[in-house]
């Protein structure tokens, strides 16, 4: 009896994953109506328009880059990596939360993920697409990027498989492909729903073709569930490997501040940290604007905040170990890197990083803040900025002062760097706006399985 009261108390502390009172029909109608019936709002056009203009700005910046070369950027020797790689690592990290939500939480049977996995996966795709632009244009001659792929060629050469940069090519392209398949396969049953519910002939044909003729046969579902679980099982080590490989780009080198074994776990934790921040920055306005508070409840916000707290501490541990090893290794170059972070010309960025990634997120211990839309949104924004600063600190602060004083230098981004970076944010937003308008942003069939009536009663 005592156990039972305790159970009730725990259950009441958390908001439900889905508000009671919904049926298969109302869940279906509510989510599909956003795409099929709801008139496109002025707000949507403004948001899409802003995103689209920023995308155009990015294309302009890239066009000018192609004409003039990477000299228009702030990169130099010694800082050859600059904004392009900072933004690449930042974007690809953001993508990681989507796969964590869709694959790892599926394997852990965290059914609350069902209402946020769809748009988190879309976020992954668009973030990886934004990330992919940077190494491509950083090569200087992006039209020759296919040279990184091992294909038989008249130059009679093959790529160098001992280089972490080539591992990246394989890791990121595999990640994008698997994320795309996972997302599309999850969409197929919902596309069938849209096909059957749409009144518009053109929409019926388009959704019908995309749904591949899905009809919900028990045999199909059985194989579908197998494939979905297997994909989740494959995507789980994949997502952990992607940021590990990204961290190898640094850790395999001998640059002080990069050559450390803490990098892989610390990069993966940082990726999930920033990814959940982006999930919250998307989920909070979306659930408000589309009145989806019944499906994306306070429970989801709370859980995301808790994941950020946990991964935030792993990241803090990473900073701690970096600093400790700078001192303990006895290596004067590592020690100098630490000194340079604390006292060098970019020191204010390091302190800003500590404040925004360690100090301010501790506010998430407060339960009230974890359920406050505005508060959570602002903390997520601070974390995203902090994680961007982390990559800036790692890349620029290690490169600009390495072994020889004679080769020291400073790095200042130019307007073209900023235009490209802000432009990719615009491209990401444009894609997100299109996504919420034309595809169901919450997985309808997975929401149905959360309802009590989905349970099969034994006779």
């Amino acid at each position: 009896m005592a156990d039972r009261t305790e159970e009730v108390a725990v259950a009441n502390r958390n908001a439900p994953v889905i508000q009671p009172g919904y049926t298969f029909g109302t869940v279906t109608d509510k989510i599909s109506a956003i795409v099929l019936n709801r008139p496109t709002s002025t707000g949507w056009f403004i948001g899409f328009g802003v995103g689209f203009m920023l995308t155009m700005m990015m294309l302009f910046a890239i066009g000018y880059l192609v004409v003039r070369g990477t000299g228009i950027w702030g990169i130099n020797i010694p800082v050859g990596w600059g904004f392009a790689i900072v933004n690449f690592v930042w974007w690809i990290g953001i993508g990681h939360a989507g796969t964590l939500i869709s694959a790892i939480l599926l394997l852990l049977r965290q059914s609350w993920r069902n209402s946020i996995n769809r748009f988190a996966e879309a976020m992954t795709l668009f973030a990886v697409a934004s990330a992919g632009i940077f190494p491509l244009i950083h090569t200087g001659r992006p039209w020759l990027a296919y040279w990184m792929v091992p294909y038989p060629n008249t130059m009679n050469y093959w790529p160098q498989f001992r280089s972490p940069l080539l591992w990246d090519v394989f890791a990121v392209s595999t990640y994008f492909t698997i994320s795309l398949l996972f997302w599309f396969i999850g969409l197929v049953p919902d596309l069938a729903t849209l096909r059957d519910r749409s009144q518009n002939r053109v929409a019926q044909i388009i959704y019908g073709m995309l749904a591949l003729g899905w009809r919900g046969s028990a045999r199909h579902w059985h194989r579908y569930e197998s494939a979905y679980l297997l994909l989740a099982g494959l995507a789980t080590p994949l997502v952990l490997s992607v940021h590990t490989v990204v961290s190898f780009d640094f850790a395999i080198s001998i640059v002080p501040g990069w050559h450390t074994t803490i990098f892989p776990p610390y990069f993966v934790a940082g990726a999930i940290y920033s990814g959940f921040a982006m999930v919250l920055m998307l989920a909070i306005p979306i659930r408000k604007l589309y009145a989806l508070e019944d499906f994306i409840t306070d429970r989801h916000l709370q859980n995301s905040a808790k994941v950020m707290l946990a991964t935030g501490w792993i990241v803090a541990y990473g900073y701690g170990i970096e600093a400790f090893m700078g001192w303990y290794s006895g290596n004067r170059y590592d020690a100098f890197t630490l000194w340079n972070r604390l006292h060098g010309p970019y020191a204010f960025l390091y302190y800003l990083l500590l404040a925004s990634n360690i100090l301010i997120p501790q506010l998430l211990w407060i339960r009230k803040l974890r359920t406050s839309n505005v508060g959570l949104f602002l903390v997520a924004l601070v974390i995203l900025i902090g994680m961007w600063l982390e990559r800036f600190v790692i890349i620029v602060m290690s490169l600009h002062r390495d072994f020889l004083n004679s080769s020291w230098g400073m790095y200042y981004p130019t307007r073209w760097d900023w235009m490209t970076y802000i432009g990719t944010i615009g491209m990401f937003l444009t894609a997100m706006f299109l996504f919420v308008r034309i595809l169901p942003m919450i997985s309808i069939f997975e929401m149905r399985t959360l309802l009590p009536e989905a349970e099969v009663k034994a006779e």
């Binding site: 498989f161 398949l181 006779e459």
Partner: protein, 178 residues
Amino acid sequence: MKTTPIYGMMAEFDSASDLVAAARKTHEAGYQKIDAYSPFPVEELAEAIGFHKNGVPLVTLIGGLIGGLAGYLMQYWMAVDSYPVNVGGRPYHSWPSFIIVTFEMTILFGGISAVFGMLALNGLPMPYHPVFNVPRFAMASKDRFFLIVFSSDPKYSPTSTRQFLESLEPRSISEVPS
């Protein structure tokens, strides 16, 4: 007068529990060529219609193995045989460096095999299918549950199958023209 050939007989149910119970009874009554349709995966349903074997895991395993092997052998051949480059005195067959691409290729081929293997085994894409001829079947992607006995079943007969399905107390019964 031209008669349309019949693809099967379809019964409509209100809940997953009803459909599972009906499918089980139909299977036990000796009907073999049956199928059930639900708007979300129902674990018990595949078993109820007597569907156990599922080729997707095997296809995924084979795909993954091929990907991994191809990835490793590709790197071995390129780095040792076709285009040997001395990098800091490392052996040409520097296998630890080859692990990552081997791993990524395993995942890539495994994942692609899982998805396309599933679609192929399901016979998808198939934009047209006779069950779509039943107007009420549009509800199968929303909140209704359907059971079908195919006319190719040896026990199928327009009258006795209808009687049998009626005994399951469905919401409605319709013939599916092919």
